[in-house]
Subunit: 219 residues, 2 copies
C-alpha cells in the first residue's frame, strides 16, 4: 500500500511545534511587557493578548506570573552571561596583557550596557525585596558567573608570574567593578537606556584596566 | 492692665507649630510606606492615615504624590550625603595614608550600607525609567557628591606628591567603587537589608583601599 499522507506521528509533532511556538510567543511578549511596565504593572491578561494566545494557555505553560517572570529572568541573563563567560575564559596572554584585558573589558562593558540588560537589572533591583530568589538568580548567573570566570583566568596569570599572587576572587571583583561601575551606576540611577557612545564606554573600560594593572600586575 | 493670656501672636505660632508637626508626620509616614511598599504600592490615603492627618492636609503640604516622594528622596539622601561629604573633606594625611584611607573607606561603606539607604536606592533604581529626575537627584547628591569631594582631596594629595598625578575624578570614582561595589551590588540584587557584619564590610573596604593605593600611590 502506498502512503501518501503524513506519517502517523506527524499530528503529535505539529501539536508540539504549536506548543513550542506559543511558549516562545508568551516569553517574548512577557519580556517586552515586564521590561517596559514592571512586574506589578503587567498582567497575565495583557501577556496573553500580546502573545495572541488564550489566558489558559499562558497558565498551562507557566503556572503563574511569578514562574513566568522567573523563566524570563533566567533566559535573559543567560543571553548575556554565556557569551561573557566564554569571552573571559578565552583570554590568553598574547604577551601584551594590557591590550588583551582592554579588548576583554571593552567587550564585557558593551554587553552589560545593552538596553534590555539594563532594564532587567533595574526591574530585578526594584523587586528584590519581594522576589529575593530572582535577585539571587540574576546575581549568581550574571556578575557572580563573570567574576568566577575572571578569577579562574587571573589565577592562571598569577601562576604564570604575570599578575601578583593573592586572592584571585578579590582581583576578579575589582577588575569587574573598575570597568563597569561608573557607567552602570549612572545608567541604573538616571534611568537612561540609550547606550553611551562606544568611545565613552571604551574610555571607562581602559581606565579600569589601567588601574587594575597598576594594582595587580607583577612589576 | 495685666496680661495673663498668651501674647497676640501666640495663636499664629501655635498654628505654625501644628503645621510643621503635621509636615514632619507626613514625611515620616511617607518615608516608611514608600520604602516598604514602593512608589506605586503606596497611596496618599494610606500616608494620610499613617500620619493621622486628613488627605486634604497632605495635598495642601505636598501638592501631589510625586512632589512628596521627591521631598523624601532629597531629605533621605542628604542625611547620608552630608556627613559622608564632611568626612571626606576632613581627610588629612597623618603620614600613614593607608591607615587614613582605610578609616575613611570603612566609615563611608557603613553609611552607604544602612538599610534605609539601600531601600531608597533600590526604590529609585526601580522607578528610574518613570522618574529620571529623582534618579538624577539621588545620583548627584549621593555618589556624585562623594566622588567630587574625593576628587578635591586626591588632587591635593597628588599636589603634595603622595598620589601619582592624573585625573583626580577618575581616581575618586575608582576609590569609591573599589570600596563599595561588592557589598552594594550584592545588597541591591539580593534584596537583603540586614547590614553585613562590620568585620565583613571592613574587609571589603580594606581590600579596596589596598588596590587603590597599589594603583594610585606614588611609589
Amino acid at each position: 500500500m502506498m502512503r501518501t499522507g503524513p506519517p502517523p506521528h506527524a499530528a503529535a509533532d505539529r501539536a508540539e511545534g504549536r506548543t513550542a511556538r506559543k511558549r516562545r510567543a508568551i516569553l517574548a511578549a512577557g519580556t517586552t511587557l515586564f521590561l517596559s511596565h514592571g512586574y506589578r504593572g503587567t498582567s497575565m491578561d495583557e501577556i496573553a493578548a500580546a502573545a495572541r494566545v488564550s489566558k489558559q494557555t499562558v497558565y498551562k505553560q507557566f503556572a503563574d506570573k511569578e514562574r513566568l517572570f522567573a523563566e524570563i529572568v533566567t533566559s535573559t541573563v543567560d543571553e548575556v552571561a554565556r557569551p561573557v563567560h566564554d569571552e573571559v575564559l578565552k583570554l590568553r596572554s598574547s604577551g601584551d596583557l594590557e591590550a588583551d584585558l582592554r579588548r576583554l573589558a571593552r567587550k564585557l562593558l558593551r554587553m552589560v550596557m545593552q538596553p534590555r540588560i539594563l532594564q532587567l537589572r533595574r526591574l530585578i533591583i526594584g523587586e528584590a525585596a519581594r522576589f529575593p530568589q530572582l535577585g539571587r538568580t540574576f546575581y549568581e548567573e550574571g556578575p557572580g558567573r563573570t567574576i568566577a570566570a575572571l578569577a579562574t583566568v587571573f589565577e592562571r596569570l598569577a601562576d604564570d608570574g604575570v599578575l601578583r599572587p593573592g586572592d584571585p576572587r578579590v582581583a576578579a571583583a575589582h577588575f569587574n567593578w573598575l570597568v563597569m561601575s561608573v557607567p552602570l551606576n549612572r545608567a541604573m540611577l538616571l534611568g537612561d537606556d540609550t547606550p553611551p557612545a562606544t568611545a565613552e564606554l571604551n574610555r571607562h573600560a581602559d581606565a579600569g584596566v589601567r588601574a587594575f594593572l597598576a594594582a595587580y600586575a607583577r612589576p
